[in-house]
């Protein structure tokens, strides 16, 4: 049954990478591994998008080094995306990157009927600018509060505390052992990085494509710094950090 003069439409799902391109990313092939992981994830991401026609998956990317800038400024349908390699060099303007994303999450340009966005912060170091201010500005945006915020630490020099601040404190669980998507994901080599990127672009995008309401109390909890997204994050992929798994050497 058709409805004349009525435009029915699926809902946009914005997926935004925030990629550390500081000089340290050039070491040990980290930059190359990140570019490779993102590029390799695109077919799987496209397949998830096809399986969830109610969501229109749109990808953007911010790179940050001496300054933050949009690497992929236009929200691009995943099937049209051709990844241009990021280049490493400079310091780590992570706070500025958060400010850029905050501006993009204002409504408008964000559509009121959009699905909660997915933000993926990837870094191997520590911010060299005012991270707190950038994060505060980001978290003032309602769309950032309800976004799925993930962080991937590349190597052991990454500032896990800062990445955890980006994600928000884990609700109902104390700090300590065990892996959780509500904690920074620690990629110690190219293989585990690729697995995490693949997981974020397929399993998480699939979960975020699912229409589900958020109860106002959960939003209030988010404001209080608790991460209580209604989106149930899928299980993490197995990695080298799993004692039961063996996927590659520790190189970073």
């Amino acid at each position: 049954m058709a409805f004349p003069n009525v435009r029915l439409s699926n809902r946009p799902l914005h997926f935004i990478y925030l990629c550390d391109c500081s000089g340290s990313m050039a070491a040990q092939g980290k930059m190359q591994a990140l570019n490779q992981a993102i590029r390799q994830s695109l077919p799987g991401m496209g397949e998830v998008a096809r399986q969830n026609p109610e969501a229109r998956v749109l990808v953007r990317a911010v790179s940050f080094a001496d300054r933050a800038a949009w690497h992929l400024a236009e929200p691009t349908p995943v099937e049209q995306l051709e990844w241009r390699d990021l280049q490493a060099g400079g310091i780590t303007a992570m706070g500025e990157a958060l400010q850029l994303v905050a501006a993009a999450l204002q409504s408008p340009p964000m559509e009121e009927r959009a699905l909660p966005p997915v933000l993926v912060l990837i870094s191997d170091g520590q911010p060299t600018d005012d991270f707190e201010q950038g994060l505060a500005r980001l978290m003032r945006q309602p769309w950032a509060q309800k976004a799925v915020r993930l962080a991937i630490a590349m190597g052991h020099d990454a500032d896990l505390e800062v990445l955890q601040q980006f994600i928000g404190p884990e609700a109902g669980r104390g700090e300590g052992s065990g892996r959780s998507p509500r904690r920074p994901l620690q990629a110690s080599n190219a293989t585990s990085l690729a697995q995490y990127i693949q997981w974020a672009t397929t399993a998480v995008v699939g979960a975020a494509s699912m229409p589900a309401s958020r109860v106002a109390a959960a939003v209030a909890a988010d404001r209080a710094g608790m991460s209580t997204s209604n989106i149930q994050l899928p299980d993490l992929p197995p990695t080298i950090l799993d004692p039961t798994d063996d996927v590659g050497p520790l190189v970073w």
């Binding site: 435009r7 029915l8 109860v215």
Partner: protein
């Protein structure tokens, strides 16, 4: 008298996304008539289970919510004459929500005790979380109450559909469109007060033959539409569908081409006199009393006068009072021009563009910018308004809104009215004392004299 309302209809259809994933439909809906000595009360309701894993029994919660609505309204009807509008207004604001919430909590608790999970897990209402909207239709009035992200649309016989009740995110304790109030919240009954409304129906010979339709829908319907204007157009077409099968087919199409969420609608309509008559072909707006080419003047009939002000403590006078209190009154045109000059050309073009559109579309266009209005209403947000003005090339409608915040604009009457409606002050949060000044959701038509 059996009343001028035809028996309402309702329909819930599983979302395309839920069907694909093998999940149940988490929506429920209800449409029925309840009889009492004082007359027949038509009732319709929609409930929308939250759906994520945290609310894994929300499909049970929504079904039980509809059951409780029926029970609570039936009980109230036995003790309250339908002619007592003041009493029903109070019932919609306080007692019915309280009874429904309490009954729902008892019902979901009883359901939980019968489940094997009860042995391992503590009971929490969140497991059954859902929204609830309900509409009562009596011979002399209609009213609604509830909480959550449902929408209520009024479709007059001759005129555009109007969104007359929607969740105000700020009033519900959040500020984004995706979040919603819920029956599982501790303050659920109090939140219903914000959306409680009773509007009398006024008979008037000027509107003889006029027909009124109310369409209640879950959020999946509106979120399937590209814009609110599309949503209003869709409501008009849904309301004109005659059969349950076609309604289900239409809803399946909506969720498939749109949000993928479960979708529910309930439709109530005044009939042609006391007798229900066959409706004309769908899409075409029904014309009561004009049956088979009979051009005689139909009997005196019903015209709605939407007197929503009393239910929500509203009014233009209060709006002025609020603007004084808000501390950010719009400066005079002269002051604004002196400070900022005339609105930039993109704003002037946008005014021209908006004013060429029908009033309903203007309202819909502005309604989609609720977030901007709310952000600009925050104290000390003059800088935000100026920034939006600077971005007029990129977002001319946003700049128009910002300009209207900074000072009066010369526009056409429908745009001016729509802007004023959007600048209504926020209602107070649950539990807070109600401040005056909120205008009705729509501009009430001029009252007509009784013949």
């Amino acid at each position: 008298m059996s009343g001028d309302w035809l028996p309402p209809r309702s329909c819930s259809v599983i979302g395309a996304s839920h069907r694909r994933r093998g999940q149940p439909c988490q929506d429920a809906s209800l449409a029925c008539g309840l009889r009492a000595d004082s007359g027949t009360l038509q009732l319709m309701a929609v409930a929308d289970g939250h759906g994520s894993s945290r609310y894994w029994l929300s499909q049970v919660g929504s079904a039980l919510a509809c059951q409780q609505v029926r029970q609570a309204v039936a009980t109230a009807l036995q003790h309250t004459p339908l002619a007592d509008q003041q009493r029903w207004r109070e019932l919609l604001r306080r007692e019915l929500p309280e009874a429904i919430v309490q009954g729902w909590l008892a019902a979901i608790s009883a359901d939980w005790q019968q489940r094997p999970e009860a042995a391992q897990q503590a009971f929490t209402p969140a497991t059954y979380g859902c929204t609830l909207g309900l509409v009562l239709m009596a011979p002399q009035w209609w009213g609604c109450t509830g909480l959550g992200d449902w929408d209520l649309v009024l479709i007059p016989a001759h005129g555009a559909a109007q969104l007359i009740s929607q969740e105000d995110p700020a009033a519900a304790g959040h500020d984004n469109a995706e979040a919603t109030a819920s029956l599982c919240l501790p303050q659920a009954a109090g939140l219903c007060t914000q959306r409680a409304t009773l509007a009398p129906l006024i008979r008037a010979h000027e509107a003889a033959g006029a027909e009124l339709t109310l369409l209640l829908s879950s959020d999946g319907v509106r979120k399937s539409c590209a814009t609110d204007a599309d949503f209003l157009e869709l409501c008009g077409q849904l309301a004109a569908i005659e059969t349950q099968a076609e309604l289900a087919e239409g809803l399946a199409h909506i969720t498939g081409a749109g949000s993928g969420d479960d979708v529910s609608v309930a439709v109530g309509r005044t009939g042609c006199g006391a007798t229900a008559t066959a409706l004309p072909a769908r899409i075409e707006r029904p014309k009561c009393g004009n049956n088979g080419g009979d051009l005689r003047r139909p009997p005196l009939m019903v015209l709605t006068l939407l007197l929503m002000a009393s239910a929500t403590g509203l009014g233009l006078a209060g709006w002025g009072w609020w603007r004084q209190r808000a501390g950010t009154p719009r400066p005079s045109a002269a002051a604004k021009e002196a400070e900022h000059g005339a609105p930039p050309p993109p704003v002037l073009k946008e005014i021209e563009r908006q004013c060429k559109q029908p009033p309903a579309r203007i309202r819909a266009n502005l309604s989609q910018r609720r977030m901007q209005f709310r952000q600009l209403q925050q104290a000390g947000d003059r800088q935000r308004a100026l920034a939006m003005l600077e971005a007029a090339d990129r977002d001319p409608l946003g700049a128009l809104i910002a300009a209207s915040r900074l000072g009066p604009l010369t526009t056409c009457a429908p745009l001016d009215l729509a802007l004023d409606q959007q600048w209504q002050p926020l209602p107070p949060a649950a539990g807070a004392s109600r401040s005056p000044g909120r205008m009705p959701a729509i501009q009430p038509p001029q009252p007509s004299r009784q013949p």
